[in-house]
Symmetry: C2
Subunit: 206 residues, 2 copies
DNA sequence: CGGGCGATTGAAAGACTTCAATGGGTGTGG
DNA sequence: CCACACCCATTGAAGTCTTTCAATCGCCCG
């Protein structure tokens, strides 16, 4: 359908694009998880979104460069599109434009929810929200439908997403564990005993 | 140009649309400031965006209803567009679709920045960021180009935007004042002495 | 002048972070 | 095969920041 896309691969922890770099291609993810983030001079980092297969990353522009950074949380396979050619192509394909609007709208709604999480929830609520969100995301996108949920993220990455420290994330997980909502199995996998209570604890809105 | 839009007016603190209400029209602001927000059962509220003349609000949908709430922070004049008719119209006007994509992209970039503010900045940094942002926004949109900057927001609204309490906002403003970066004049107006230091303090990225 | 609302300030409590130490798992080399 | 180093997660204790609770102040308005 779109001849302008070339498939590319990245290993875990590799960078798809860096904030500020001149805008070239954007990417539609086929396999794996990508973290979109922004980092301050002093090293503080905020992951602003998690993207899964079917999502696009690297589309947002600021001063002619990428507005954010994209990092592979797992091995990633994605289709690269030249931004300029794509824009021209969209101009002649209203339905593609509609899909783009739809994707951006969805992303913006998610971003609003993340603001609510970061601005209003306490640490354990944030972690519960995160687990419920990840669970729903992986289920919807058929990412590794393993019963023990594989997070594909270390504590530092969870912390950078939730605006907490690794220690606080660890303690919050402990609290959810002691409330018998979840359990940990080896190597960063989680079992969710009670999805309903997890959503409640994370203040997840319909 | 667009015959489907009708002009409407709201007074300060009135609601343009409520989260969950069945999606009807969305609004293009002509005058005034609108806060887009989300509220939890227990009353905690997060303002996820501030919108000024030229911006659209009430576009995002969730389960057939508005995804967020829109509240007038000042008296507001806006043009209402029926969402369904608009969508149909866009399908035949690629340039309008492009403008929509542009608006959504800009909003998404702003949302990412808000996440950074909420997740990583300390209280005084957040308040500094807010003041710098408001100053730039009002300047760009020619909202009341008064030299003492009129915030058009009470402490509670600032607090709900920054994920803080009114007391912390007040104390943070005090700190910026004592550092001679800003000064307060009567009735909620602010004078910015040093824009550069304010942006630094707020970790505002180009 | 009194009432009411929003903003400020103070003091104490609470939440999260920071610093430090421990534990567990993995991988490599002897 | 075991020892050891390394990385990540967990746990503890102290410190910092923000919130909470309470009181005061200032301003606008009746």
């Amino acid at each position: 359908m779109l001849s302008m896309g070339g498939i590319r691969h990245w290993k875990k922890h590799e960078t798809l694009f860096r904030a500020g770099d001149p805008m070239g291609a954007f990417f539609k993810i086929r396999k794996g998880i990508v973290a979109v983030s922004q980092t301050l001079d002093d090293g503080r980092r905020q992951i602003t979104a998690l993207r899964a297969p079917g999502d696009c990353v690297g589309y947002l522009e600021r001063n002619g460069g990428y507005a954010f950074e994209g990092e592979a949380l797992t091995d990633v396979e994605a289709c690269a599109f030249d931004r300029r050619k794509f824009d021209a192509f969209v101009a002649h394909n209203p339905e593609l434009g509609a899909a783009l609007v739809e994707a951006l709208s969805s992303a913006l709604t998610q971003a609003g929810t993340l603001s609510l999480v970061l601005g209003q929830l306490r640490s354990t609520e944030r972690v519960a929200h995160f687990l419920a969100e990840i669970s729903a995301l992986y289920a919807k996108r058929h990412v590794c439908p393993s019963k023990p949920l594989a997070l594909h993220m270390g504590r530092k990455e969870i912390a950078d997403y939730l605006g907490l420290t690794i220690e606080t994330v660890s303690r919050s997980i402990g609290k959810l564990k002691s409330r018998n909502i979840i359990a940990l199995v080896e190597s960063g996998e989680v079992v969710i005993f009670d999805h309903e209570r997890l959503r409640q604890a994370g203040k997840v809105t319909g």
